[in-house]
């Protein structure tokens, strides 16, 4: 059973998914961050594959991508760091990245590597559903890898249904029309959207991301979905001075309180 299905079978509320960029702040922080996040109580972890042109990301994640690339991060390096990760970390792991580095690595090779190291799902914001279904779905299925789709307040009901039908694991609900880290709150005009999605009774769990930064926004998101995803706020927290593990546990505690 895919670890994500297992997670949502056991836990339907307040699921916390934390994003960090591989290779940031230091090239070899990946396993330290993964372990510290699990110990601190993250239910699911999303690892960003750095890219030179991350168009869906705001300044915080862009900068972390730039630093990570300068540090020498690549898919090859990342997979080697994750080689024995399943001896140490048991929460589901999702890779998030843009399609070009993965296509250069080779999609089939990428899916095989994900299976080998124990990655459960992938989020590729610039891979259209149509291309996925047409070109890559069989490779994903062969390697037991889930492809997570995004929906936004502008996504029509018909398309949300289509996303639900073609999704496994969970659906990533982008909270508002924005890039990552652009907003630090969830506002009232999103409640229509949240209610609309809730009333559709989707077969997949939903996690709300973009604009979730602290306990208050996490709670608000959890009223409207099975949980939430935090990215930019976490990157900011680990960018500060201090011991990495302590910063991570402090941040996760402050969000979950």
């Amino acid at each position: 059973m895919n670890r994500i299905d297992k997670l949502f079978q056991d836990k339907k509320e307040r699921v916390l998914n934390v994003y960090f960029t591989a290779g940031y702040p230091q090239l070899n922080d990946t396993t330290t961050i993964l372990e510290a996040l699990e110990t601190s109580g993250a239910d699911l972890i999303e690892i960003g594959i750095p890219y030179s042109d991350p168009i869906a990301d705001g300044p915080t994640i862009q900068e972390s991508n730039g630093v990570a690339l300068e540090n020498g991060m690549s898919l090859k390096v990342l997979f080697s760091q994750l080689k024995d990760i399943r001896d140490k970390v048991s929460v589901p792991i999702v890779l998030m990245g843009y399609v070009n580095p993965i296509v250069q690595f080779g999609m089939e090779n990428f899916c095989a590597k994900c299976e080998e190291v124990g990655v459960d799902a992938v989020i590729l914001p610039d891979l259209p559903m149509f291309e996925y279904l047409e070109m890559y779905k069989p490779m994903f299925e062969k390697h037991g890898l889930y492809n997570i789709f995004l929906i936004t307040p502008q996504t029509s009901d018909a398309r949300i249904k289509q996303v639900d039908e073609n999704s496994n694991g969970f659906i990533y609900m982008v909270s508002s029309a924005s890039t990552t880290g652009a907003k630090t709150s969830i506002s009232l005009d999103q409640s229509d959207y949240f209610a609309r999605v809730k009333n559709m009774n989707l077969k997949n769990p939903t996690l709300i991301g973009f604009g979730i930064s602290n306990a208050e926004t996490f709670d608000k998101a959890c009223e409207n979905a099975n949980g939430a995803i935090i990215g930019s706020a976490f990157i900011k927290a680990i960018s500060e001075e201090g011991n990495l593990e302590e910063k991570i546990s402090g941040f996760v505690k402050s969000v979950k309180q």
């Binding site: 042109d53 869906a56 705001g58 070009n100 580095p101 250069q104 610039d126 502008q154 890039t179 652009a182």
Partner: protein
């Protein structure tokens, strides 16, 4: 094989719409509506009226006699340099501003490299009284200062793109991010035949007036519509797509695309995508792309800011792959010399981008009876600094 876009937005193996879900409704809205809007008689009437009375079309097709003599062929220049604002870019912005109005959009964003597309966008926004924001790499703002001020005089806000390498590719990233954050009231006027479907075909169609006029003008001058060669420079590829468009499927016309080789293709300072690129995805389409082994986009280099882009439009990747167009690349030095040659033989100072197309003549051989059309995509006023700095005249 016919050169045309299929309903999924592909030219052969290249194209598509690789966009985050946040942009899906915008792109769908465009895709579903643009053909109908553009083909409607009232749109055509307004578009043609503005092209004639505002842009100054048709632009002349001029027989360059002294240049012809030098190269031993009959060389005609398609004078896009005489368009209002000084380059072909305005053909596209006139089309897209009318489209934006029909779609009910109140704000315009654009990216720009050399500033020509930014100026052309700011110009049509001023004409229509629409708010305009242009993203421009911080590095480009410094090297194209007069165009920054032109945009500001026209009432546009110029926002520096400070991410990445701070040039055209990053300005495009910033414009896309802006669109993600403002999806409903804003139209993004992309400046070349790049981006997600339907942009590449839409921009090519607005630029196709170039080859439509060449056909009519050659018929009048020579009694035939088809030359032996059409030559154009390629940054993203909009002036080339416009000059090639009505010749895509006329096999007797040889299509010549000229890329910028910067300091030389082997120096690590070039922008010749077909020489140095591999298939990849950038700014919403699958195309040829300069990138590292790990799939990170490489920053190109050219003396000409308008050719300084790591990709080419998907239609050009297709023309290259199928061999329908032949690609040459030209160094900074060769282009600058060709710019001076044109200035001295014909009394026309070309844009440094366009000078690349002329430099390719040195790599070609002609029969005396060959009819050659070179798309003179823009004038050199904006490049005086570059000519002065280069200095060898």
């Amino acid at each position: 094989m016919k050169v045309q876009v299929d309903e999924r937005g592909y030219y052969g193996n290249f194209g598509g719409a690789f966009i985050p879900e946040m942009l899906y409704p915008n792109i769908e809205e465009l895709r579903e509506n643009y053909e109908q809007i553009v083909q409607a008689p009232d749109f055509q009437k307004q578009f043609n009226h503005l092209l004639r009375d505002f842009v100054g079309r048709p632009t002349p097709l001029y027989l360059a006699e002294r240049l012809s003599e030098k190269y031993g062929a009959e060389i005609y220049l398609k004078r896009e340099d005489l368009c209002h604002t000084g380059a072909h870019k305005v053909n596209n912005t006139v089309g897209q501003i009318l489209l934006a109005q029909k779609l009910g959009k109140q704000k315009i964003i654009a990216e720009t490299g050399a500033g020509q597309h930014g100026v052309a966008t700011a110009t049509v926004c001023a004409l229509m009284g629409i708010e305009c924001i242009v993203y421009m790499g911080k590095v480009d703002m410094a090297r194209q200062k007069p165009n920054v001020e032109r945009m500001r005089i026209l009432g546009a806000e110029v926002r520096p793109a400070k991410s990445g390498s701070k040039t055209l590719k990053d300005a495009t990233n910033e414009a896309m991010r802006h669109w993600i954050n403002n999806p409903t009231d804003t139209h993004y006027i992309i400046g070349s035949v790049v981006g997600p479907h339907p942009y590449p075909e839409m921009v090519a169609r607005f630029q196709s007036v170039i080859s439509k006029e060449i056909k009519a003008q050659l018929l009048e001058k020579k009694g035939k519509q088809n030359p032996d060669y059409v030559i154009a420079c390629v940054g993203g590829g909009s002036n080339a797509a416009g000059a090639f468009y009505h010749y895509y499927n006329e096999e007797d016309v040889r299509l010549i695309a000229v890329e910028a080789a910067g300091l030389g293709n082997q120096t690590g300072h070039s922008a010749a995508t077909t020489v140095l690129g591999k298939p990849g995805v950038l700014h919403g389409s699958k195309t040829l792309l300069m990138q590292t082994e790990d799939g990170q986009v490489i920053e190109p280099y050219s003396i000409s800011a308008g050719l300084d882009y790591p990709g080419i439009g998907p239609v050009h990747a297709h023309l290259f792959e199928t061999g329908r167009a032949k690609f040459y690349s030209v160094t900074d030095e060769e282009a600058m010399k060709a710019g001076i040659l044109l200035s001295r033989t014909e009394g026309i100072i070309p844009a440094v981008e366009s000078a690349h197309a002329f430099a390719a003549l040195n790599q070609m051989t002609f029969n005396p009876s060959d009819v050659v059309v070179i798309n003179l995509s823009g004038r050199g006023d904006k490049d005086l600094e570059t000519y002065i700095k280069w200095g060898k005249y």
